[in-house]
Structure formats: structure tokens, C-alpha cells
């Protein structure tokens, strides 16, 4: 791999306000060549604004940016690119119907006059991909690729521009563990080749595994700046929140009721991801975690209970009574199952609906007589759910599309809790939400368990699984291969090992 001598990037007293609201307040730090810097903070702490300033998408009110020791002006994305700064946003920007090679060369296709040369383009893309040590189907259309591969293409695009600074905004939020691990190792390689990397993430485990320097923003101010090896996650969390993290209490351990609210027996599925005679129980007031790598079958169990996958055979019992395994989302709801899907934007929420309407979406019929919704009952339900979940919004009539990720997730969960389900099935309950909201969501689940609702949590975040579950089942190749009780900090590595990762 080619080693390029890069100059570092220094941020000097950056301040930015929107109206009277200061979103960044005199932020200064340096990004050194060959170093991965983790940028942490809650949603709204100013991380994205900082990234946007570096990418040239917005400009600071005061303060300056230096590359080496030269002042640079980053007024437009084009200027940023010219200075060797690449920004890979959370939602990728690419041209879906062009090939991988065309996307890599986007905006600078080799050409003669008005004519581009597909051969030259392919040669260029090929040499870049090999030089960087990747493997990509160069002639495939971009939209036929997996999300992880698309991200890799964006990274190749950034690196082939000889970027001095690469900014990644929550790149692993939508990746599974394998893909995340791959991406993290790629970032390690990029740093080795001499680039500075600014890594924005909510995942503390990842941040601590790859970052050498850490910067923490809170309410627009830099509250911590230092070496990753000289601090620990607990300290960082206290900086992010401005207070110590509250530990969850009241885990039941062995004192769980023996009454099963959900029982599945001999669930099997031929198609990939397959299931092979899976049986499990969730008791009243118990939180059961399912953990496995992508394709292990854990998510198939959740999706089947939610009525998304109709081809699983086997027996299902709710409150000890046999029911047909859900064949549709409607069916699932009627059986007494609440299902919180993994992707709140695509599958969970209707962005144009108000908070009030979203919270009654699944119980409209219960609130209605002759098809006419009782407005008072609806308002009471919405106010109650908003209070229970400590929802923060301007008003109950605000549309959910305008809320922050954490508050959207609260609305999504509350809309399912409003069903008063016998068992709540949750997929990735805190994906992409900040640390503060995560703690609140975890508390909410615990409170719900205390009131007797059994829960099945499928998560790819092992830290979360260990933190909130009473019992953890490990899935591997369509089977439950191991069960953990009495979860503690050592369970994490044992569970990872059992699942076949790392």
C-alpha cells in the first residue's frame, strides 16, 4: 500500500449558530495523519454540523480550518474535495443505475472531449480497487450491491481521490457484525496509509476498538478531548451525558414467573436463513434476548412473529393456547403480539403522521365506534404514552418525521405498547439512537417487563443484549446453540464466541 505524506487538519475555534441557537461553540482540535479520531456526542450535540462544515456543506460563523499550517476556505463541497476532504454520510449518495466502476469515477470520468472511455474507466477503477485491497464487482449496477458493498464503493471513491481527511458518519449503523468488522479493518488500513479519519458513531465498543483519539461534544461544546487508551467507556459516557450512566436495576435473574406467554415449538424453515426445529419460551415479565450473526435465524424468529415471513412450520402458543403461526402483520396483531420492526424509517413509522396519530395507529379500531375515532380517547392514549416514554417534542401534533432518532424510536415502541400485547417482539430496539435515549429506552423495556409483558429482543448489539436481557439465547445456523442465564460482563465475550463471531 502506498504511503502518502499528509498534513494534519486543525479546527480552530469553530462557532456556528442557527438563529439564536448555538450549535457549535468554539470547538478546536486537530486531526493527525494516520490517526482515527472518534467524534462522540448525543443527537444534536453538534457532530453533524461539524462534519458538514468540514465537507463544505455549511460554513462556520467564526473560526478557521487549517491544513498543515495553511488556512483553507471550505465554502462549497467542491472546495472541500479539492483540499482532499471526503465525507461519507450516513445515507449514501450514489447513482443507483450506474455501475460500480462508473460510481467510483463519478464526476471525473476519463474522457476525450465529450466522449468518455469505458475501458479507461474500468482500468482506473480496477487498479484503485486492487491497490486498496478490496474486492468489488466493478461491472455490476450499484443498486444490486449490499449496503456494506455500497459503502465500500464510497470509501474507494474517497481514497482514490487521495483524501487527506475522510469523515464517516455512523457507517456501521445499518451493517451486521461481519460487515462492521470488515469496515473497521478497512478504516485501520486507511489510517496506516497516512490519511486522517474522523469517525462519528454511537457505538462505544467500536470506537474503543479502533480509535486512537476521542473528542466528545455536548451541546455544541467540546467537553472531552484525549487519548482513547487513557480513558474508558464509563468516563466517556459521563462526558457525553454530562452525568454518570444510570445502571439498570431490577433484573429478575431466576425469580421469573413460570407462566409462558409465548412458546414456539419445532419451528423450521427451508429457505435461507433457515430454521431447524427451534423451540423457545418467553415467560411473563421476562426479557429474552436472541443473538446471532446475520443469517443465523434469530431475525427470522422475530419477523415470523411479526407476520412478515409466512413460510415457517411449527407450533405457536400464546398464553398456553395454541394459535396459528402469524401469516400476516394483521394476524400477528390479533394473536396478541406486538412487533417493533428493525428499521423505523422504512418499516416502522409514517413520517407525515402526527405524534398523536402515530401512537394510535395500531389501536384505531379499539378507539373507534362505527369506524369513527373517539378523539378524546385518542388524545388520552397519546398523552399517556408520551408521558410514559418521556417523549420530547414541540407538541403532540408535531409530525414524527421531524423528531430526533431517539424520540422516533420511542414513538415506534409506544405505538406497539399501546396495543397492550401479551408479548412484545423487538428487533434492534436502539439502533442508531444516542446514548441518552438508549438508556431511557432500556428503562422503558424493564418497566414494561415489571408490569408483566414478556419480551423477545433480537439485537445485533451484544452489549445491549447483555445489559437488558434476563436470558440470552445464541443462534447459529438456524438453531439455538447455547443459553445464558445470570448475565454479566463476562457473558459478552462468551456469547460472541458462541455465536461464531470474533
Amino acid at each position: 500500500m502506498m504511503i502518502v505524506d499528509h498534513a494534519g487538519v486543525t479546527l480552530n475555534n469553530l462557532t456556528k449558530s442557527y438563529g439564536s441557537q448555538k450549535v457549535l461553540h468554539e470547538v478546536s482540535f486537530s486531526l493527525n495523519p494516520g490517526q482515527i479520531t472518534g467524534l462522540l456526542g448525543e443527537n444534536g450535540a453538534g457532530k453533524s454540523t461539524l462534519a458538514k462544515i468540514l465537507a463544505g456543506a455549511t460554513t462556520p460563523d467564526t473560526g478557521s480550518i487549517l491544513i498543515g499550517n495553511k488556512h483553507v476556505s471550505l465554502q462549497t463541497p467542491r472546495e472541500s474535495l479539492a483540499h482532499g476532504i471526503s465525507f461519507i454520510p450516513q445515507e449514501l449518495i450514489y447513482v443507483p443505475r450506474l455501475t460500480v466502476a462508473e460510481n467510483i469515477c463519478l464526476g471525473r470520468w476519463p474522457r476525450k472531449g465529450f466522449v468518455t472511455s469505458p475501458t479507461q474507466m474500468k482500468t482506473f477503477a480496477e487498479s484503485e480497487v486492487t491497490r486498496l485491497g478490496f474486492d468489488l464487482p466493478l461491472q455490476s449496477e450499484m443498486n444490486s450491491l449490499s449496503f456494506a458493498q455500497q459503502q465500500t464503493v464510497e470509501i474507494v471513491k474517497a481514497l482514490s481521490r487521495d483524501s487527506k481527511l475522510i469523515i464517516l458518519d455512523e457507517p456501521t449503523a445499518a451493517l451486521n457484525n461481519d460487515e462492521s468488522a470488515q469496515l473497521l479493518s478497512i478504516m485501520g488500513n486507511m489510517a496506516l496509509s497516512g490519511a486522517s479519519i474522523l469517525y462519528i458513531s454511537h457505538r462505544l465498543d467500536e470506537v474503543f476498538s479502533i480509535c486512537t483519539a476521542l473528542q466528545v461534544l455536548r451541546n455544541g461544546s467540546l467537553v472531552f478531548s484525549g487519548d482513547a487508551s487513557l480513558t474508558d467507556p464509563a468516563e466517556v459516557i459521563s462526558h457525553i451525558l454530562g452525568r454518570a450512566e444510570v445502571q439498570l436495576e431490577g433484573r429478575r435473574g431466576n425469580a421469573i414467573s413460570q407462566k409462558a406467554v409465548l412458546k414456539i415449538e419445532n419451528w423450521s424453515r427451508q429457505q435461507y436463513p433457515s430454521l431447524d426445529a427451534v423451540s423457545l419460551e418467553v415467560h411473563e415479565g421476562e426479557i429474552v434476548g436472541l443473538y446471532g450473526l446475520a443469517g443465523s435465524g434469530a431475525e427470522v424468529v422475530a419477523q415470523t412473529l411479526g407476520g412478515l415471513i409466512p413460510d415457517v412450520v411449527g407450533m405457536t402458543f400464546i398464553d398456553q393456547a395454541a394459535v396459528t403461526t402469524p401469516r400476516s402483520p394483521r394476524h400477528s396483531r390479533l394473536a396478541g403480539i406486538g412487533y417493533v420492526p428493525a428499521d423505523r424509517k422504512l418499516q416502522g413509522l409514517v413520517p407525515t403522521l402526527s405524534v398523536r396519530n402515530s401512537l394510535s395507529l395500531l389501536i384505531m379500531r379499539r378507539l373507534a365506534k362505527w369506524g369513527v375515532i373517539n378523539a378524546k380517547a385518542e388524545l388520552a392514549n397519546a398523552n399517556g404514552m408520551a408521558t410514559d416514554t418521556q417523549l420530547r417534542a414541540r407538541s403532540i401534533e408535531q409530525t414524527v418525521g421531524e423528531l430526533s432518532g431517539g424520540n422516533q424510536q420511542k414513538v415506534l415502541m409506544a405505538s406497539r405498547i399501546a396495543q397492550k400485547p401479551r408479548v412484545l417482539v423487538l428487533q434492534e430496539p436502539t439502533r442508531g439512537v444516542d446514548v441518552g435515549a438508549r438508556v431511557e429506552l432500556h428503562k422503558l423495556l424493564r418497566k414494561l417487563a415489571d408490569s408483566g409483558t414478556g419480551q423477545l429482543v433480537v439485537t445485533s448489539d451484544i452489549e445491549e443484549a447483555v445489559q437488558i436481557c434476563d436470558r440470552l439465547l445464541i443462534f447459529r445456523e438456524g438453531r439455538v446453540t447455547r443459553e445464558f442465564r445470570d448475565l454479566n460482563s463476562e457473558t459478552q465475550s462468551a456469547a460472541l464466541h458462541a455465536a461464531g463471531g470474533m
Binding site: 442557527y18 438563529g19 441557537q21 450549535v23 448525543e42 443527537n43 444534536g44 450535540a45 454540523t49 451541546n219 455544541g220 451525558l241 454530562g242 407476520g307 400476516s328 402483520p329 394483521r330 400477528s332 396483531r333 412487533y339 420492526p341 422504512l346 418499516q347 416502522g348 413509522l349 409514517v350 413520517p351 407525515t352 403522521l353 396519530n357 394510535s360 395507529l361 395500531l362 384505531m364 379500531r365 369506524g371 369513527v372 375515532i373 378523539a375 398523552n383 399517556g384 408520551a386 408521558t387 418521556q390 417523549l391 420530547r392 417534542a393 414541540r394 407538541s395 403532540i396 401534533e397 408535531q398 421531524e402 430526533s404 431517539g406 424520540n407 405505538s415 444516542d434 441518552g436 435515549a437
Partner: protein, 349 residues
Amino acid sequence: MDESTAISRFSKGNSPFRKVVLSEATIRFIILGIFLVVLSLIFSSRNANFTSGNNLANILGNASVIGIVSLGQLLVIISGGFDLSVSGTVPLGGVVFAIILNKGWSVPAALLAAVAIAGIFGLANGILVGFVKISPLIATLGTWYISAGFALTLSDGVQIPFDDRADGILSARTVFGVNNQIWIFLGISLVVTFLLRFTVFGRSLYALGGNREAARLAGIPVSAMTVSVYVISAFMGGLAGAILASQLLTGSGTAGINSALQSIAAVVLGGAALTGGVGFVAGTLVGVIILGALSNGMSMLGIPAFFQTMATGIVLLLAVILSQFRKRGSFRKSEQVSSSKSQPQHPTN
């Protein structure tokens, strides 16, 4: 704390923090209302007859036909689709109405026949879009051609005058000297308003248009809902066609062939989004009336029809551009809000 007050405070009736937040729809409605007033002032300053009771009834009477079509179109657009085939079902409804009347049947029977035959095309649209998953553009383009061709075939390309002049009842003036079609239009407006605001059906429709997959996962029968809105839209088309025929005292295969684009223009002007999930009756009403007033006023001033068409386009674009500016403004506002949102120190209950 300022804007980011926890909702829980509202529930306790403690609302000093509550700001009057006008919804996007309300603001759009106000802008359109002002526009309508300005437009009326301009026209009446040039020709005092513009605001005479007789002329206002005229504007409303003419707008009623396209208004009824627009109410159906509104439902389809909220659900995330749109319906081009009304350009076929309106003339078809008129032709069927005339033919059946001339066979000596009663007005209600003829009306029922017109609505039912149009409804068949709505059912086809619904099945094509909701179950076969063809895009609304292609599906309703196809049924537009079929229904428009069918109307021309039935009428043999010529106009079918009513044998009995009393059959113009749908547009006659009865109650308070106001045309019946206006009463019908206002009545349907009320029903659709109620449907959208207070019923499970309306709520499901907004959910379906806002995010189809989320609506499906919430247990809403999305395909059946899709069929129902296209059927309603076709019913409205058939009804509007019958009224138009009643107004003209003749059924014609070419009357109302611009219904699709006119109704889509009115609905969009009234604040609905073609991406679905957004739209309301009051906005559509004002949209319809603005378009009606525009063509009426320009005719009174003797402006040629070609210019009227251009003016309609300009008004539509202006309204949509205006709402874009507003969106950008509110985006900025919400950015501020989110940045002040998660201050951990603030008391949450």
C-alpha cells in the same frame, strides 16, 4: 427549556410553554385564501360584475363538476397514487347518463348506472395498482384510454341530447336558488372531510400514503384500501359526468376530457403532496375555486382562452414554489429544535 418541552407537560394542562404552531396545511390554506382574495379584488376592480351574486354562483356552479372529481382525486393522492382515468370516466358517466335517460328510465336509475359503469374502471385501477402492483401512472393511463374510447364508442362520436328537458335536474336551481350541483359538491365535501378527519378509513389512508410498508406492518389492509380509493374516485368521475351532461342537456364523449389534469392541479394547489400522505379537503376546495375564478375572471375581461391556460400553469407553479420556500424555512427551524432537544440535564417529567 424552550421549544423542547416534554410533551408530558401538556397533559397536565400546564401550557405556558406551548407555542401556537400552525401546521403546514393551515399556512398553505391561509396563503391560498389571501391569493384568492387578491385575485377577486383585481377582477372586480376591472369588472364590478365579477363579485355579483349571479357570477359567484356561476363560478361555483362551473367549479362543482371539477370539484367533485378533485375530491376523489384527493383521496387517491393522499393514498400515494393518482388517477388519470377520470378523464375517461367523466365523459363516460355523461354518455351513459344520457343514453339511459333517453331509454325512459328515471334520473336516479340513470345516475346509478353512470356511477356503476364508471366504478368498474375504478375497480380495474385498484386491482392493477393495489394487487398487480403496476404504477398508478401506467395503470390509470391505460384505463383512461379504454374508458375514453368506450365513451366515444357508446356515443358514436356524436352528442346525445336529452329527449326530456326536465332531465337537467342535477344542475337546476332549486333550494335557495342555488344550483343543485353546488349542493351536491358541498355535501360530498363535508362527507370527505368527515371521512378524512374522524374515521379509521381516513387515518389508514394517510398512513398508507405516508409509508406503505409501515402501514402494512401496522395491520392496515393496504391493498384493499388502494382498491377502495380508486373505486371512489371513479364513482366521483361518473357522478361529475352525469352532472356535466345535465348542465349541457346532452351527453358527449368529449365533455370533461381534461378532468384528470385539472383535478390533479387543484389538489396539488390545495397543498397535497404527490408523494402521498398529505392533503386536505379545505385546501382542495380553495384550489378548485381559484382555478374556477381565474378562468371566469379572465373570460369576463375578454382574455383569450389560450392565455387562460398559460395563467393556470403559472399559478400552479407559483403556489408550489411558494410551499418549497416554506419547507426550507421550517427545515431550518427543526434543525434548531433538534439541537436543543437532548440536553440531558433537563427534567423529563
